[in-house]
């Protein structure tokens, strides 16, 4: 099966799923909290070790305002940084605040990367914030978020 046709099938399934965001998330909450089943606050604490997030304009998220397909939402994160051995981005963490599994990706970087940039596609189970956390070499955690609307659409 080609990746393309696989994604197509996935998209069609998502169009049905988004009609039931409340039901799906209610079911998720009842499960025990394994490593992939933490709520948003717990997941953030697991990344930062309890340190506070600092919202920062240095972290830029590029994501659509309204998802064309909730199953494959393109997200790009750029962090402004000189990427020298003294000052660089150690990791970019990508989270979806209301997904069953809120942690989407952890990307670990070194100064040799030259640029703190990461792009991927994530699945969103409903309208929610996509949050990027930049773990800096000085031990601080910078963040940015964007709301992405997931809708069945085509009705209005």
């Amino acid at each position: 099966m080609e990746r393309r046709s696989f994604l197509k099938g996935f998209g069609a399934a998502a169009a049905c799923a988004v009609a039931l965001p409340t039901i799906a998330s209610a079911a998720e909450e009842k499960k025990s909290a394994g490593p992939n089943e933490m709520n948003f606050e717990t997941a953030v604490a697991a990344i930062t070790g309890g340190k506070a997030l600092m919202p920062s304009a240095k972290v830029k998220i590029k994501a659509p305002e309204i998802a064309e397909n909730g199953a494959v939402v393109p997200v790009k994160v750029t962090v402004e940084s000189p990427m020298t051995s003294k000052d660089y981005v150690k990791a970019i963490h990508l989270l979806a605040s209301k997904n069953g599994n809120v942690r989407c990706a952890n990307i670990y970087l070194t100064p040799a990367n030259g640029e703190a940039f990461f792009g991927t596609r994530i699945k969103l189970g409903g309208t929610q914030d996509v949050v990027a956390i930049a773990e800096m070499s000085d031990g601080t955690f910078l963040s940015a978020k964007q709301n992405v609307k997931v809708t069945i659409g085509g009705c209005g």
Binding site: E2, R3, R4, K8, G11, A12, A15, C16, V18, A19, L20, P21, T22, I23, K62, P64, E65, I66, A67, E68, N69, P74, T127, N147, K149, T151, I152, G153, G154, C155, G156
Partner: protein, 588 residues
């Protein structure tokens, strides 16, 4: 004494000249005609360049009646702002008088009597006469005709020719540049064929290849911008297609293309036009919607003019935000926006704008256009001119929650499918049939002519229906225009409900009744819908019932012969006292 067109018609009404009479015959056509045309043409010409703007014609090459909404509700923060004005609030905002030609074009008020007085609106042969007049006045080399899209779809003749009839009409009008939305519902292959036939340039900066196996992955599918020289000035025009085409319309038509607002690339094209291409004026030709484009002007710097479309707003005056001038020219060919621009030393020094009503009784038809319309309609005349029945009350489309023509369509569907609930989409295109007039097959196509016309019948639980209604409401009433999709609320048959537009997302809709009984979350309902993708959310699709909505509606009207739709809305608006509230108010 210097009378504007508006003043003249007001005085004419006050003096009883051309008072509405019973029947279609205008009372004093020669008098109204003589002065009216001069007044329609009158314009304080300015500068060296004229941009003529049309949007959302929806394939109406013949004149039509089109009644503006009597309810146009938004999130409270947007109430009474341009894009959310109707009726009395519209007249007050723009300083207009009632019962004038302008009031007839721009509002629903006294629509029937003014329709008998002033006649039909739009039509390419009347538009062409107006365009020719302006080109003669300004010099053809100084004029551009720009089309904000939703042009190829919306009538029977458009659907039956796969959009070709309308491309011929655009070539006849002399459209120079266009952008798209419903255009894409002919599918990628047909869109490319039609662009081959089109004399105009088709541009879009916000359609990008997203098939990673294709050559155009992450590339622009269309030219993002074009540069035109007029009146000695270089004008950069950036195209903005409808950003939410792939969610508002079936994805299969545009598989492999990604849409979106893409304000970051829009900004980079504005900068490129200014710094590298050294244009004298930056124009965004847009199908974002009027309220979205006001947000665009807040986010993107350096745009001189946004020629907007999609939300069908007539806006007699431009809206200026952060130095960007935004205009929008209604819908259905009712208007041509004339924008004269004074460009000196590579900069815009000033402008003059007028939203010109295409009053088909006042602007003579161009014979060449009449011949073209006849030619384009001739293969379909016998089908389209069939009289299906007569309507007692006026059938219209526009309104936020409920319209008489949509009620007729929902009645037809429930009758044919024996379903509990029917969903008809809250599109903003269609037609208006005056009370007492015949309903033709052409009128039915005007309301339903889409490339995915099937009515689907399936099952949904009460909880599903509630969730779907909230989802649709959030697309229409989101407080942030960037998250709105620019349509009206879906129209429901068999259901009544209450809505608090200003309530939080997911908490707007209460007291849903189905067939007079409260909606039960666990109960399974038989639902019919068309024009959306609700069937994907449902189960137990009844394939044997699936039929095109225009056939279902036409059959019903043929059986009824005399149609009598009440104007009573099935939706109770809880946080406003009227349909056209003033800015920041509950009331009108």
């Amino acid at each position: 004494m210097n009378l504007s067109r508006r003043d003249f018609f007001y005085i004419a009404t006050a003096l009883g000249i051309g008072l509405p009479t019973i029947g279609a015959a205008a009372s004093t056509p020669s008098r109204v005609d003589e002065v009216g045309l001069k007044d329609i043409y009158s314009f304080k010409a300015r500068g060296n360049v004229t941009l003529l703007h049309i949007c959302d014609m929806h394939a109406h090459i013949k004149p039509l009646y089109w009644r503006e909404p009597s309810t146009l509700i938004s999130a409270p923060n947007l109430t009474g702002t341009p894009g959310f004005l109707c009726g009395e609030s519209f007249l007050k905002h723009y300083g207009m008088k009632g019962k004038t030609l302008d009031a007839y074009f721009d509002t629903f008020m006294n629509f029937d009597s003014l329709a008998h007085k002033f006649g039909k609106m739009g039509g390419i042969s009347h538009m062409k006469t107006l365009i020719n007049h302006i080109k003669k006045e300004r010099g053809a080399d100084n004029v551009l005709l720009l089309d904000s899209g939703d042009t190829w779809q919306g009538t029977g003749v458009a659907l039956k020719t796969g959009g070709e009839a309308i491309v011929k009409a655009q070539n006849y009008l002399g459209v120079d540049v266009m952008v798209g939305h419903w255009e894409f519902t002919y599918g990628k292959k047909r869109v490319k064929e039609l662009i081959e036939m089109l004399n105009a340039k088709f541009i879009a900066q916000n359609i990008i290849g997203d098939d990673s196996f294709a050559d155009d992955f992450e590339e622009s599918i269309f030219e993002p911008y074009t540069i035109m020289e007029r009146g000695g000035a270089k004008i950069g025009i950036i195209g903005q297609a409808f950003p939410f085409t792939s969610t508002a319309n079936p994805k299969e038509f545009t598989q492999g293309w990604s849409f979106g607002l893409r304000l970051d690339t829009l900004q980079s094209y504005v900068d490129k036009l200014r710094k590298e291409e050294k244009v004298d004026c930056v124009v965004v030709l847009s199908h974002d919607g009027f309220s979205v484009d006001q947000q665009v002007a807040r986010h993107v710097k350096g745009i001189d003019f946004i020629l907007s479309g999609h939300t069908h707003d007539p806006s007699p005056r431009p809206t200026v935000i952060n130095g960007t001038v935004i205009v929008i020219a209604g819908s259905h060919g009712k208007y041509i926006g004339r924008l004269d621009i004074d460009i000196q030393n590579h900069k815009v020094k000033g402008y003059e704008y007028k939203l010109i009503p295409v009053a088909s009784n006042l602007i003579p038809a161009d014979p060449e256009g009449e011949a073209l319309v006849r030619e384009l309609y001739s293969p379909y005349d016998s089908e389209l001119s069939e009289v299906l029945g007569i309507t007692k009350s006026t059938l219209f489309k526009r309104d936020t929650f409920h319209s008489t023509f949509d009620q007729l369509i929902n009645d037809s569907i429930i009758d044919a499918m024996d379903s509990d609930i029917s969903f008809t989409p809250g599109y903003r295109w269609g037609t208006t049939v005056l009370g007492g007039d015949k309903i033709t097959m052409d009128d039915v196509y005007d309301m339903t002519a889409i490339t995915y016309p099937n009515v689907y019948t399936f099952e949904l639980t009460g909880l599903h229906i509630r969730t779907l209604l909230e989802d649709i409401a959030d697309n229409v009433f989101n407080a942030n225009p960037l998250y709105q999709q620019g349509g009206d609320m879906s129209r429901l048959g068999g259901v009544s409900y209450e809505i608090r537009v200003g309530a939080a997302s997911g908490k707007r809709i209460t007291n849903i009744m189905v067939g007079g009984k409260p909606l039960s979350d666990s109960k399974v309902y038989k639902v019919s819908s068309w024009g959306g993708n609700l069937q994907n959310a449902g189960s137990n699709l009844k394939d044997s019932l699936t039929r095109p909505v225009y056939d279902v509606t036409a059959a019903y009207i043929r059986r009824q012969k005399n149609v009598n739709i009440s104007g009573n809305s099935n939706v109770k608006l809880m946080d406003y006292d009227c349909g056209c509230p003033k800015k920041g108010a509950r009331e009108c």
